[in-house]
Structures are given as structure tokens and as C-alpha cells.
Symmetry: none
Subunit: 311 residues, 2 copies
């Protein structure tokens, strides 16, 4: 019987308690899960978040691992009392949710759905048959875990996918570009462009008046990455002159996006409220349970934090 | 020299004439292609659509096959004068387009996109995080070429896909059901239900007040198949009482859908103008030519209609 202590932010407990119990049971573990403990010396595992109650890990003499619920560990990695292995969350649910959001919005624009979603007025709008996905160029800026997975899902639906990353990569199904010139090449061919770069000084304002002008007239921009990658004034200008036909934006320099922001009122912009990728209780509980199962089976833990690197 | 008669809707001729000529030539055939004929007795093959001029096939005494340009044959299969082999169109472009349309609209409803597409009013609507695709049950009624391909694309995006066909099938990634009871089982588990059955007397009104009541409350209906599969009064009633949360309908008993049809005005219905699957001229012309080539080489025709089954 394992004693597992939930030492996360107490507001998380009502959602995580049932999810963790299900996940531990599904992993075949015998366990007692509690959000409090009278005797730290009997705790086998700690499910942790920095906003939770534990600041001193030294009384947890039997604890085999501390399982952080979030990806970021910057506020705990320097804690000198923490001598047990520390893992960080890599939630497959967050990746899967991002792939679903990106694929859905690419298909929405590819198929021209909005004309029909808005046009329920009795007019039978046959319009132009869209090209098949195999004849539609989609670009993905950023080929990290989220960009690569999104690009591969789109390639699986036959889209002609090109991707860009700072250093050259090789990913099945994606035409991979890198470097300054590669960035211009991807932009110049993309009818739909998805932004999934990490935010750094180099990627800030990567979409600006100069780069927007490189794209084919009528390109669609989809930004589920980070708001500051876009020079907002330049994008609004490109939307107004038709160089960009639509922008679906999930992230912004200021969130929630202020009510008077011109994006809200623009007819060719869709604002979504930072929902493209969310950590999921169910899938992150499964990751925690899988790590406990591994520890009990003397298998290596996943996503162990390297204390010297800090992540 | 083969005499081939184009007996489709005359508006199709300008697009199909060059595509068919190219395809017949590429198939190595010697032919004369025309959109009119003075002497039915010399016609070897008929390229057909129900909206074209032929209602009586009996004068075409030498005709070796009637090659329908569309997948649906319900309006010609019962024609007693038609004694020649009848083939229906299985166009790879049509299949790909259908998969894209179905996948796009399933993702649209799965993600709850419409709230944001309609809600560009300055309100930051975070709302409820949708489940991941792996926790979303999608049902496909009909596992012919279009249903199977759509189901497999959805399974590739992790959706929990169940499919129903009259006779039991086995398709990778899809939980396959058949028979009366299987139909009820698929309906009872589907949060999103896609109709891709062939239209036959048995599938007419397959969605009726009784079967709609089997589904989980709030199910979404997507119909890219055939209009008469739905009892429209029963669906409107189910939409009004919330049993069905939304219907995206591409096909109707009468098309174009009349301007005063209640579907247009219903806030939870999206009408699309029979665009889910468009036959692509180039790829379908190639299929027609391949069947003529086969017939001339005494090879079995592809996609021959079984008159007793009706498709």
C-alpha cells in the first residue's frame, strides 16, 4: 500500500482527487491518496505544485519522488531540502489539444467554413470548390514538440506542409526549412501560416510589415503560440489591405484582450481566449501515475529535472 | 472506334469534355465523344448523370455500360429500361474532399469553435475546456468508401470512432458494428454522429424521433450523405428540446433548400449547400476512362451497382 500525498494548490484538489484515483487504479497500484498528512515519514510519493503547502522536504525521509504538476520548476528546483528525484509535467494532453486546435482551424480556413457559419440567411452559396488539401500549402513556424506534432497531423490529412525552425530538422511528412532564407521561403509559399515558435528576442515581431508582404495575397494567419510574435499594427494594416485575408489569434500581448482592442472589431479576425493548449487533469494525472508505476517497477522515471540545468 | 455519349447535365459539358478526352486518350482508347446523338443504336458507352437528357435507355441496344458521374444512384437504379451494367462514381478526389469536410466539421463541433466565430464582441469566453479527441465518441453511419475513409482520418486524430454498416466489417481504427442492435449501440454512444449511408428504403428516415431519443443528450448531427435519411420534423423537434445540440446539414430533400425552410432560421443548424463532396472533374474523368478500358479488355468493371441492394 503506497501513501501518496497531494501537496498541490488546495484549489486543484477537487479536480485532481478523482482523476488521480482513477489513474493510480488504472496503473494497477494499491494506494492511499490524501491531501494532508500527520506523519511525513510514511509518505511514498508527493504530487506537488509550488503553490501547495510544502516548503521543507526534509521530514519526508521515505519519499521516493516528487512529481511536479506543471512543466515549469523554476521555483522549486533550487530548494536545498529537496533531495528526492523531481519530475516535471510533460502533458501529452496539452500537445494533443494543440494539435486538435491547429488542425481544426486550418481545416476551417481551408474549407471556407465561416461563409456558411455566418451565412444562415436562406442564400444557397455554392461558391468555389476549395482545392484538395494536397494542393494547399500550410506553413508552420516552429518545429518543437507542438509544431512538429501539428505539422504531422496536417500532413496526415494530405496538406502540403512546410515547417521552419532555427536549426535544421528532419521530420517525416514536413518539408523542413531553417535559417534566415528558409524563413522567407516558408512565408512565401504559405496560404495558411501557423505560429508555434518559442518567444525569444529573435522571434518577437517575426510577423512584421516586411515579412507579411512576402506571403501570397490572401494568406491566413493562425497564432496559438505567443502574442508578441506579431507586430499588431502591421497585421491590422495587412488585414485592411487584403494582403492577409484572415487572422485567428489565441494569444496576445495583453490578456484578456482589452474590449477596445481593434482585433475584436475587425471582421476578418477571430479572437479565441488562450484556449489552444490547456493542461488536462485527466492526462496529467495519467503521467503522474505512470511515473509512480515506473518507480515501483524500478524503471527510469520520465521527465526527471536536471538540477544543474534548472529544468 | 468507340462512340461515347455524354448524357450528363448540359452545364457540366464544358468542364467534362476536355477532361474526358484527355482521360480516354491517356487510357489508349480510340473514341468519338459527343454530348448529343442522332442514333442511340450506335452508342457504346454512356457517361451519365440523372439531371441529363436520358430517361429511357431502351433505344441504346449496343451500349455496354452506363457510367454514372456521381456516387448516388438512387434516382436511376430503379429505371426498368436500364438493363446495361451501371457503375457509380468512386472518385478519389471526391473521397479526399469528403474526408476533409467531415474532419473539419467534427473538429469544429468538438472544439466548440462557433462560440468564438460568432462571439467577436469583446467578451473573453474561456468557458469549459473540451475533452481531448481520445475522450470524444464519434459515430459514423455507413462504412462504405467515404464512411471508412472519414472514420479512419478521425481515428488518426485520436477520436474514439465507432462505425455502423449493414453487414459486419473490420476496419483498422474503427469499432465496427452491424445489424439492428449495432445501430442502436452506435447511436447510444455518439456525441457527434456523421451520416454517410447510401440512400435506400431502409435508410430513409433512419434518424427519426425514436432513434434521436437513443443518443446522449446534446449530440451533434452531421449529414453530408443524403437528405431523406433524416425525418426533418423529428430533428427540428429534437433541436428545440435540446436532445440534439446542433445539426450541420449539407444535403436536403429539396435542393437548393427553400428560403422559408425552418432549418435556415434555426440557431442550432448550419446549412451548407451540398459541398461536402464534389466530384473533381479530372480524377473522375480518369475513373470513367478506366472503366471503359476495362470493359474493352474484358476485365471486370469497377464499382458496378448491385440493383437488388440499390447501390
Amino acid at each position: 500500500m503506497l501513501n501518496i500525498l497531494f501537496a498541490g494548490n488546495p484549489t486543484l484538489w477537487p479536480n485532481y482527487e478523482p482523476a488521480l484515483k482513477t489513474a493510480f487504479a488504472d496503473a494497477g497500484l494499491e494506494f492511499e491518496l490524501s491531501d494532508s498528512c500527520d506523519d511525513p515519514a510514511i509518505v511514498d510519493y508527493i504530487v506537488f505544485s509550488p503553490a501547495g503547502p510544502i516548503k521543507d522536504f526534509s521530514p519526508f525521509v521515505r519519499t521516493k519522488a516528487v512529481l511536479n504538476l506543471w512543466a515549469g520548476v523554476e521555483s522549486v528546483v533550487g530548494n536545498k531540502t529537496l533531495t528526492q528525484p523531481l519530475t516535471r509535467m510533460v502533458d501529452p494532453g496539452l500537445r494533443e489539444g494543440m494539435v486538435e486546435w491547429v488542425t481544426g482551424h486550418v481545416l476551417r480556413h481551408h474549407l471556407g467554413m465561416d461563409v456558411h457559419i455566418h451565412g444562415q440567411d436562406g442564400v444557397w452559396r455554392e461558391g468555389k470548390v476549395p482545392p484538395l488539401a494536397r494542393d494547399r500549402c500550410v506553413g508552420i513556424l516552429g518545429l518543437g514538440e507542438l509544431g512538429a506534432a501539428s505539422g504531422q497531423a496536417l500532413a496526415g490529412l494530405n496538406f502540403d506542409v512546410a515547417g521552419w525552425s532555427r536549426s535544421q530538422k528532419s521530420i517525416e511528412g514536413i518539408k523542413c526549412f531553417s535559417g534566415e532564407e528558409g524563413l522567407r521561403d516558408v512565408m512565401a509559399r504559405s496560404e495558411i501560416l501557423v505560429l508555434l515558435l518559442p518567444l525569444t528576442p529573435e522571434t518577437t515581431n517575426v510577423l512584421n510589415s516586411e515579412t507579411l508582404a512576402l506571403m501570397p495575397k490572401g494568406t491566413v494567419i493562425i497564432n496559438p503560440g505567443r502574442g508578441p510574435m506579431i507586430d499588431d499594427a502591421a497585421l491590422l494594416n495587412a488585414l485592411n489591405n487584403g494582403q492577409i485575408s484572415h487572422a485567428t489569434l489565441d494569444v496576445f500581448r495583453v490578456e484578456p484582450l482589452p474590449v477596445d482592442d481593434p482585433y475584436w472589431a475587425h471582421p476578418n479576425v477571430t479572437v479565441t481566449p488562450h484556449i489552444a493548449a490547456e493542461t488536462r487533469v485527466t492526462s496529467s494525472a495519467r503521467m503522474v501515475a505512470e511515473n509512480v508505476r515506473r518507480a515501483e517497477a524500478n524503471e527510469p522515471l520520465m521527465n526527471v529535472v536536471d538540477r544543474s540545468a534548472g529544468y
